[in-house]
């Protein structure tokens, strides 16, 4: 079974440009999460999808970040325009809905974003 995949693995862009990150969750996982770690800090939650709906987007830093999950399968996270402080590693995770309150979240390898 394929795990969570993310594309690209690395992205280097200039300030002001746009970048789109993609996450493919494990097939059949309704829950999809985005997290990010900026340098020297802990991993922080960005948002949570249940199928195509945003369940919780309380961690999104500002309106330069737009996440979508059309059709409830893969998700994209677009940063427009990118700023220097957006640099970091963006992780995606997915989990099944097993009808229990705590479900294991499977993480992807992350996308390392560098904004120059």
């Amino acid at each position: 079974e394929a795990g969570v995949t993310q594309f690209p693995s690395h992205s280097v862009i200039e300030k002001g440009q746009t970048v789109t990150l993609r996450c493919d969750p494990i097939s059949g996982h309704d829950n999809l999460y985005w997290y990010r770690r900026v340098m020297g800090k802990e991993i922080k939650f960005l948002l949570h999808f249940v199928k195509e709906s945003k369940q919780d987007e309380s961690g999104m830093p500002n309106n330069r970040f737009l996440a979508e999950r059309t059709g409830g399968t893969y998700s994209t996270l677009k940063v427009q325009p990118a700023e220097l402080e957006d640099s970091g590693v963006y992780f995606c995770a997915s989990s099944q809905d097993l009808g229990v309150a705590v479900n294991e979240q499977f993480f992807g390898p992350g996308t390392r974003l560098t904004v120059l």
Binding site: D56, A93, F107
Partner: protein, 113 residues
Amino acid sequence: SQELEQSPQSLIVQEGKNLTINCTSSKTLYGLYWYKQKYGEGLIFLMMLQKGGEEKSHEKITAKLDEKKQQSSLHITASQPSHAGIYLCGATAGGFGNEKLTFGTGTRLTIIP
């Protein structure tokens, strides 16, 4: 918001030695996760604890959650080079609809042959 503190931040251990990593929460934990990360890879799930006093083991790694559900420890017995990496504790604040994870800053483990 819930905060998790991990200690130590880094650990250098000789191969074969035992070690312990701690994770302390400012609030009562609902679910406590331990993950391991190697450079360029995603977070690898190790264990999840939910009940006060719970203890789980997998191979040479044992995780415990205290009775008050505010502190967890991860113990590695007879460490091996394959144990090297960054260990992260993560916690959920509640159940259904509140499953986002809060993470500690991580513990970097180095194993010396």
